[in-house]
């Protein structure tokens, strides 16, 4: 495997691509989790407020 000419360039290209794809998935997923938690908190607060008004 290591005697393939230019193997370093091939590994680097695939490595950068893999890191970029994993980073994209992680950023979008973590953003979703954070937003969902924030929305759930706000909706819970709103429901509690409406309950106390009644």
């Amino acid at each position: 495997m290591m005697d393939i000419p230019h193997i370093g360039f091939i590994v680097a290209a695939y490595g950068v691509t893999g890191v970029a794809i994993v980073a994209m998935v992680a950023v979008v997923w973590l953003d979703y989790r954070s937003l969902s938690a924030q929305l759930a908190r706000l909706e819970a607060k709103r429901t509690a407020k409406e309950g106390s008004v009644k």
């Binding site: 360039f9 091939i10 290209a13 691509t17 979703y32 924030q38 706000l42 709103r46």
Partner: protein
């Protein structure tokens, strides 16, 4: 898709339900295509001139395809914002920009890593490479524009206009290798006289291109969903603030007295 169903998707609740239902299947298809494409690519015979180095093609070409395809999606979304005033068009445009920037970055870096052993240089200011770099800068500019304008409506219109102006770069990227003398090779897949790549090397490339397209579809659906949640949070926060103000006004001055 007919017009009524497209407008049904404009309803964020319908879009969220659709995303929840389709995303698991789309991820399974994406991963399966990536595994098959990579397996076929790594088992493809070596190129007679470039040896194994040509295997960088299996990530470089799909990333290059997506870099322009995503810009096309953003241009359509911009028309949706400016002409049809589709409620989710600006969310689709905003969500696609970072994905387009990342795939263009992958295209530039993998191309550079392919160029060094084949051309003897990482970079050359020829028409194809420079026009793709301009595309990357356009993506970064659009992301910056979205972040620099507080009013989402104004930001959407400004980003839509800049996106449509930037579409002039798409034919330049595509035909740069025909219009100018470039170090980059001319088109070898989408040609009037058919692909010039041997089928054993072409099939993995096509599968990887479809896999990357599905990957974008998954990430874009997820990112648009995030934008919808972000808007709901902003709306709820504003309502809470307005109610707080109203309560504050009711309390003063009469109720605040001891």
């Amino acid at each position: 898709m007919d017009a009524p169903s497209m407008w049904n998707l404009a309803n964020p609740t319908v879009f969220l339900a659709l995303a929840r239902r389709t995303l698991p299947a789309l991820w399974v298809i994406t991963i399966a295509l990536l595994v098959v494409g990579l397996w076929m690519g790594f088992n493809a015979p070596a190129d007679y001139q470039q040896g194994e180095t040509f295997k960088i093609m299996y990530i470089h070409v799909p990333a290059a395809w997506l870099s322009t395809f995503i810009y096309g999606v953003m241009a359509l979304a911009s028309l949706g914002t400016l002409v049809w005033r589709h409620p989710l068009a600006d969310a689709a445009q905003k969500a696609a920009a970072p994905l387009g920037a990342t795939f263009t970055f992958v295209c530039l870096v993998s191309g550079s890593l392919w160029g060094k052993p084949m051309w003897g240089t990482y970079w050359v200011w020829d028409a194809r490479l420079t026009s793709v770099l301009v595309l990357f800068i356009l993506y970064l500019g659009l992301i910056a524009l979205w972040r620099s304008i507080d009013d989402p409506g104004k930001a959407a219109r400004a980003a839509a206009i800049l996106t449509l102006v930037g579409t002039v770069n798409l034919p330049i990227i595509k035909f740069s290798v025909d219009w100018w003398n470039t170090l980059h090779q001319p088109a070898s897949v989408f040609r009037a006289d058919g692909p010039t790549i041997a089928p054993q090397l072409l099939w993995p490339l096509l599968i990887m291109a479809v896999a990357f397209t599905f990957l974008f579809l998954c990430l874009h659906l997820m990112a648009v969903r995030n934008e919808i949640l972000r808007r709901r949070i902003a709306r709820l926060t504003m309502i809470a603030a307005a109610e707080g103000d109203a309560l504050g006004k009711k309390l003063t001055p009469e109720m605040a007295r001891p």
